[in-house]
């Protein structure tokens, strides 16, 4: 079926161009490293104090880094007006949406995996036991971020002041993701028993489902007149 072919080709194209240019991931990683360094300069903390705020710091860094990647996702389509070719695809625009979400999710998730050891080193975290749980939290929250972010990336890239408008529109929408991700990460880093914060994971999953579906249908109106 062509619908799934389009998804596959979009993911293939984004991965191949990224592997050849390495623009998105390298700029994301270096940006995030700077954010981490600035945070660790501005709070010189002992381990106990770090526990209270580290979850927030992690997600602020990941959200800003994610916005860089999401912005690049569609601004790359502006070269040679490629976005018009995507608009003229004789197929539901949802296929392009799903392909882009998959690629964006992959980029942001890879960057998070690369960066997390930096947090562990700079803030002296002890994470060995909770690592699989943390990965699950990262997975769910990143999915939510890219589900909404891909839609807004496609929307803002077609207007003026696009670099400013992407965070202005996106961040208020992902407030639930940020709250739930911070609370769950805090719980996992504290070593709390899972039932104390499992509802945040459930909330993340529910957000992912609802927003992927709604953005899937709304993408049609963003890419097509």
């Amino acid at each position: 079926m062509n619908f799934f072919n389009v998804i596959r080709w979009i993911v293939w194209k984004d991965l191949v161009t990224e592997l050849r240019s390495r623009e998105t991931i390298s700029s994301m990683v270096f940006f995030a490293l700077i954010v981490i360094l600035i945070f660790s300069f501005s709070f010189s903390m002992d381990q106990q104090a770090a526990r209270e705020v580290i979850a927030g710091i992690i997600w602020v860094a990941f959200a800003f880094t994610g916005i860089i990647g999401l912005g690049k996702s569609f601004s790359a389509e502006l070269q040679n007006d490629c976005i018009e070719a995507l608009q003229m695809v004789p197929e539901s625009k949802g296929a392009i949406y799903l392909g882009k979400v998959a690629a964006n999710f992959l980029f942001i998730f890879v960057v998070e995996i690369l960066l997390f050891p930096m947090f562990v080193i700079f803030f002296n975290l002890d994470v060995v036991e909770e690592i699989s749980l943390l990965l699950l939290i990262f997975f769910l929250a990143t999915l939510g971020l890219s589900a909404v972010g891909t839609l807004f990336s496609a929307l803002t890239v077609q207007i003026r002041a696009r670099e400013v408008m992407l965070p202005i529109l996106l961040l208020p929408m992902v407030v639930p993701v940020m709250i739930a991700a911070v609370e769950a990460t805090k719980g996992a880093l504290n070593g709390d028993p899972l039932p104390m914060y499992s509802q945040w994971l459930e909330l993340l999953a529910i957000f992912d489902v609802i927003f992927t579906v709604v953005s899937f249908w709304m993408f049609e109106f963003v890419m097509d007149n």
């Binding site: 389009v6 080709w9 194209k13 007006d81 003229m88 004789p90 097509d224």
Partner: protein, 224 residues
């Protein structure tokens, strides 16, 4: 059969009306050339017919399909060679062709792609990244894409810019081939010398208004 029919199309951006009350009919096997000074609204009209923009007023049909409702079927049978070549800088020529056609639901074989690239004269650069291509080579690659797609309706925005004499001849030959297979072509250009040999009808777009002109008038330079 009518390939393109638009009725009373208007388009405005904020204070400015770019297109005013455009009506135009193009039959299958016809090549309509659209002339006009810069900023006359040629590209806007093409983008509306390419289903990229919605007109502020009016409606249009392509191959008898409503342009506001049956966009997906129209797109499958139409190709728009725009000012931007729709190519990715980090992919090579073959990958660009494969990707663009896959989005249209077509899967050309490696041999087909090689043939098309040879035909437009860039077969030797098939494995080279587009980033290093010149503007004329990009235009030729876009033409190769259209050759593989074989659309019933072809929209061309300034098809001869950046092309050398040989490239212009390849482009014209391709347009003749589409016309002989009962396709319809609408192109915007300001180069009447290059366009005249293939034009069946012509129109002048000025300040958003369209006026049809005779082929004889094309030959005299008064209009331009």
């Amino acid at each position: 059969m009518t390939a393109i029919a638009c009725q009373a199309i208007s388009k405005s951006y904020g204070h400015y009306e770019v297109l005013h009350d455009i009506s135009l009919t193009i039959q299958e096997g016809e090549c309509f050339s659209l002339f006009g000074p810069n900023g006359a609204g040629k590209t806007t009209l093409l983008k509306i017919l390419a289903t990229l923009q919605r007109p502020s007023e009016g409606r249009y049909e392509i191959l008898g399909l409503d342009g506001l409702k049956e966009k997906e079927t129209i797109r499958a049978n139409m190709m728009f060679l725009a000012h931007g070549a729709y190519l990715y800088d980090d992919l090579n020529a073959k990958e660009n062709l494969a990707f663009a056609l896959a989005l249209r639901g077509q899967t050309p074989t490696d041999r087909d792609m090689k043939l098309a690239l040879d035909r437009v004269g860039i077969g030797a650069f098939a494995e080279m990244k587009i980033r290093n291509y010149s503007a004329g080579m990009k235009k030729r690659l876009a033409l190769a894409k259209a050759m593989l797609a074989k659309p019933k309706v072809l929209l061309l925005d300034e098809p001869f810019t950046a092309l050398d004499t040989a490239g212009t001849e390849i482009m014209r030959e391709y347009i003749r081939e589409r016309l002989s297979e009962n396709g319809a072509v609408l192109m915007s250009t300001h180069d009447h010398d290059k366009a005249r040999p293939i034009t069946s009808r012509a129109g002048m777009l000025n300040q958003g208004m369209l006026k049809e002109i005779s082929l004889e008038a094309l030959k005299s330079d008064e209009l331009f």
